[in-house]
Amino acid sequence: MTETVVVKQMFLDPSRCIGCRSCVAACRECDTHKGESMIYIDYIDRGHTVATSPTLCMHCEEPLAPCAQVCPAQAIFYGTYEERVEAGLGLQGAKPVNTFYFGRQRVRTRNYVVMTEEDDALDLMALLDEASLGKGSEVPQATAGRNVEQWVDAEAAGIPERAAPPQPWAPREPQPFTVPTSPIGSAGVHDSRGEQA
């Protein structure tokens, strides 16, 4: 004789975790162990990234684990596999943000996006160049700190700006601003100064 089995499970997806500790706060509110949380949220490597990961007790079931109920990122999901797929979450994140290849191994991650200095960057794009892209796979997004550059002021960069001197506890007076006739601001000649900023 056949029997219908409803298997509800805890699904964890650290890549979705925002480290908000909603689960920790909710767990403490559970009547069975009020004031004590059964969950830890750890920064994976705070020096390099704000990525966090929950560690659960995995004990709750019906009606609903408070941690899964409150999680605003759906990093903790309690339900059947079908419910999870239906919720668009899939297994291990249905649509990972970064897919890259390390040699022939396909790595999907949303978690370890690390902001690094240029000289020792985890250069996802460089890894990609050497990797064979699977058929139909998406090209990963360049993310994180590799977009950081040193800055220069507007004059050096050659974009128009309105001068506005600071006056503590007084509003900046709006100053008339007219559009220069030339499409490129004349300030562009100062470009070379930018390097020292």
Partner: protein, 767 residues
């Protein structure tokens, strides 16, 4: 522990399959002392008292006390989700720090705050206010109000100032929060409200979050962001720090603080040059395109990138992602608004949305994520310096006449526009304002340039504060009135979507604490204005508010308490009782008489204070998830306090090396206005030229001792988000660190697994 083993072993019982239990001790029944000791009498449906998301929750009431919280699955925004602030919000209700009776300094400013009776304090206030107004004019008394209270109270404070006191000067702490978004909305779109409900995120192909730390400040909104991304939506985040939201973004633009308008112009340049603009939309629904285009043409991404400190390719890619999306949303928040050009920044963001035709459709729009609980409602019900209820203009003759007819006063008795909150401080220093009634606000944490603000508040002839905890500001007051928490009164608030929702009363106020509206009515009675303040319940106030907003921009006329309950909130404008409300704005027309949106050319203005030799770094401030605004409530909640007990200085590894600062070292950060010392958190998740300090702390821990009080010209919002600073390693811990219990700090650090970084040193260095 033996009991611990008898935890529900449900993990081993998959559904109904296995009847047997692997519990070795108590079988099915958990030991009694594991349950909370009190039987719950009632579950009161209400909303969270904290941020603008206003999640639905039930308060558990037992024996007339709030003892717990249960999320509301039925509220369509949070669906049972709660952030740590929401899950612990109920703990402020029975808090031992609650003020239970009025306090007064009977022996001058140096004397102690002593217990007094309500009659004594109210009579004193009325007597002193009357004397000051008789000697120095009506405008010598000011109202400094707030937005973390119900619409009814906000509305009543505006009316109280203008009718009972007759002063021009009434303003609120939203001035410090999102007032520049108001300016941008009014200049560009005509209606001061987010254009879309949050659920529109699920229809977007691209979401551009600029200057908003969604994961920490609006945690529940993250759910929608993540769900949208599960459906293939692209996320662009611009922020000088890697925030939890930025961490996984498809494109992260770690721009330099204060360069948002340059970035937005640069993106508009790319959108124009790649033909991604929506010409039909621009032609039919906007005005001012040519001028805007001419200015944007001067911001090529290569140059903008150098000002923003970004790679030009990143700006081009952002523009392509945003411009190429079928439906795209822009969300802004304090990062972009807390600047001396906050309105310009908002307008530049709206320009981007308008030029790509992203309005009036599901998943297309622009909006600010309002921070305060009732930040949206508080800014439209007439407690602002230049505003009458319903976003009516105080200088508009028609609006004045209408409001006077509702209030039953003579039009010439209605004061004109007064000082915004930030200009009250210099007015206090000039002795133009001599007395102030402050409620629902804590400027001694939240105002910039704290030392100046403190001088101003200390110099007042009479300073009255209503609060339910003795806040940093209340400590300076001559009279402190005990107020109520949100659980002790009913009333409506308006969430960041523009959805009017209702708090329900769970319990009676403790001790002699009274609601703000009762205090206002009582003061009005003693001021001889009783006939204008004959309210006996929030419902009566709301009915008058509805009438005041009838036909105005933010029209509440069709909203009733019953309808709010029935529909789980009503989006304004709602012009009649059979109108369902308006979740999405601008589907047909914009909020100007001709129905067209306005594009304004925006030129980049640099931050008021740029780094130089003496102050080489950029200081930016912000929030952490565990604290709400000035932290007056959340710093008293044990769990939240433990998670973030003190401020810290987030500093890039490279900068820290240059300053010989190790993780956990004490760092003194100094600006032209003041200095503060806090432990360093050495990370790579921030721009190397930028320091970050959370702002929720008071006294010597307040980062607002350092921030720049330069104001935005239109709406007078201070520039919290960028000023020049210098950092040095501190030789010894600051005084506040000597006061706190070292063991507590260590325990907190261990629990939080972060502060300071685990790898380097076990504790903040006390040496």
């Amino acid at each position: 522990m033996e009991e611990a083993m008898s935890a529900d072993k449900g993990l081993f019982r998959r559904g109904q399959r296995q009847r047997e239990t692997f519990d070795f001790h108590a079988g099915e029944v958990a030991p009694a002392h594991w349950k909370s000791d009190e039987a719950i009498d009632r579950y009161v449906p209400t909303h969270c008292c904290y941020c603008g998301v206003q999640c639905g929750m039930y308060l558990k009431v037992a024996n007339g006390k709030v003892v717990g919280v249960e999320p509301r699955e039925d509220f369509p925004l949070n669906h049972g989700m709660l952030c740590p602030k929401g899950a612990t919000a109920y703990q402020t209700v029975n808090h031992p720090d609650r003020l239970l009776y009025p306090l007064m300094r009977r022996h001058g400013k140096e004397g102690p705050l002593e217990r007094a009776s309500w009659d004594e304090v109210l009579d004193t206030i009325v007597e002193r206010f009357t004397a000051i107004q008789a000697e120095f004019g009506k405008d010598a008394v000011a109202i400094f109000s707030g937005s973390s209270m119900t619409n009814e109270k906000c509305y009543l404070m505006g009316k109280f100032a203008r009718v009972a006191l007759g002063t021009r000067h009434t303003d609120y702490n939203g001035r410090l929060c999102m007032s520049s978004a108001t300016g941008a909305n009014e200049r560009s779109l005509g209606i001061d409200r987010a254009a879309n409900p949050i659920s529109d995120m699920l229809h977007a192909d691209c979401i551009f979050v600029i200057g908003a730390n969604v994961g920490e400040c609006f945690p529940i909104v993250t759910s929608y962001l993540w769900q949208a991304r599960d459906r293939g939506c692209k996320l662009i985040v611009a922020d000088p720090r890697q925030t939890p939201t930025a961490r996984t973004a498809d494109l992260f633009l770690p721009l330099r603080s204060g360069t948002d308008s340059a970035l937005l112009n640069g993106m508009l340049y790319v959108i124009i040059h790649e033909g991604l603009i929506d010409e039909a939309f621009i032609r039919e629904r906007t005005v001012g395109w040519e001028e805007t285009r001419a200015v944007a043409e001067q911001y090529p991404p290569e140059r903008v990138a150098r000002v923003c400190g970004l790679r030009p390719e990143a700006i081009i890619e952002a523009a392509r992602l945003y411009g190429g999306a079928k439906a795209a949303l822009i969300y802004t928040a304090r990062g972009l608004e807390h600047q001396s050009k906050g309105v310009d920044n908002g307008v530049a963001a709206a320009n981007l949305a308008l030029s790509t035709g992203n309005f009036g459709r599901p998943g297309a729009g622009y909006g600010t994520l309002t921070g305060q609980g009732n930040g949206q409602g508080g800014r439209e019900v007439g407690q602002k310096a230049s505003q009458l209820p319903g976003c009516r203009e105080i200088e508009d003759p028609e609006d004045r006449a209408y409001i006077c007819s509702v209030w039953g006063i003579d039009e010439k008795d209605l004061p004109h526009a007064g000082y915004p909150a930030t200009l009250m401080i210099p007015a206090m220093l000039r002795k133009e304002i001599r007395a102030c009634y402050l409620l629902c606000s804590n400027p001694m944490v939240s105002l910039p340039d704290q030392h100046t603000a403190e001088r101003a508040l200390r110099g007042l002839d009479l300073f009255v504060v209503t609060d339910f905890f003795l806040s940093e500001t209340a400590e300076l007051a001559d009279i402190v009135l005990p107020g109520t928490t949100w659980a002790e009164d009913e009333g409506t608030t308006t969430s960041l979507e523009g959805r009017v929702i209702k708090y329900n009363k769970a319990v009676e106020p403790p001790g002699e604490a009274r609601t703000d509206w009762w205090i206002a009515c009582e003061l009005a009675r003693r001021l001889g204005k009783e006939r204008y303040f004959t309210f006996h319940s929030p419902r009566e106030i709301f009915d008058e508010l509805r009438l005041c907003t009838r036909g105005a921009k933010s029209d509440y006329w069709g909203i009733t308490y019953e309808k709010i309950e029935e529909q789980n909130g009503v989006f304004w404008p709602c012009p009649s009782e059979d109108h369902p409300g308006t979740p999405r704005l601008y589907e047909e027309r914009f909020g100007f008489p001709d129905g067209r949106a306005r594009l304004h050319p925006i030129a980049y203005i640099p931050p008021a204070e740029e780094p130089d030799e003496a102050y080489p770094l950029i200081l930016t401030t912000g929030r952490v998830i565990y604290h709400y605004l000035s932290g007056n409530q959340t710093r008293r909640t044990p769990f939240l306090k433990e998670m973030a007990p003190y401020p810290w200085v987030e500093i890039h590894e490279r900068t820290a090396n240059r300053l010989s600062v190790k993780d956990g070292d004490w760092v003194t950060v100094r600006t032209r206005r003041g200095e503060t010392t806090a432990p360093a958190l050495v990370v790579r998740s921030i721009r190397p030229d930028t320091l970050f300090i959370p702002y929720h702390y008071g006294h010597t821990q307040a980062v607002n001792q350092l921030t720049n009080p330069v104001l935005e010209p239109m709406l007078k919002i201070p520039e919290y988000k960028v000023c020049a600073c210098v950092a040095v390693r501190a030789e010894q811990p600051p005084a506040w660190a000597r006061d706190v219990d070292k063991a507590t700090l260590e325990a907190a650090r261990k629990r939080r697994h972060e502060l300071p970084m685990a790898a380097a040193q076990p504790t903040p260095t006390f040496r």
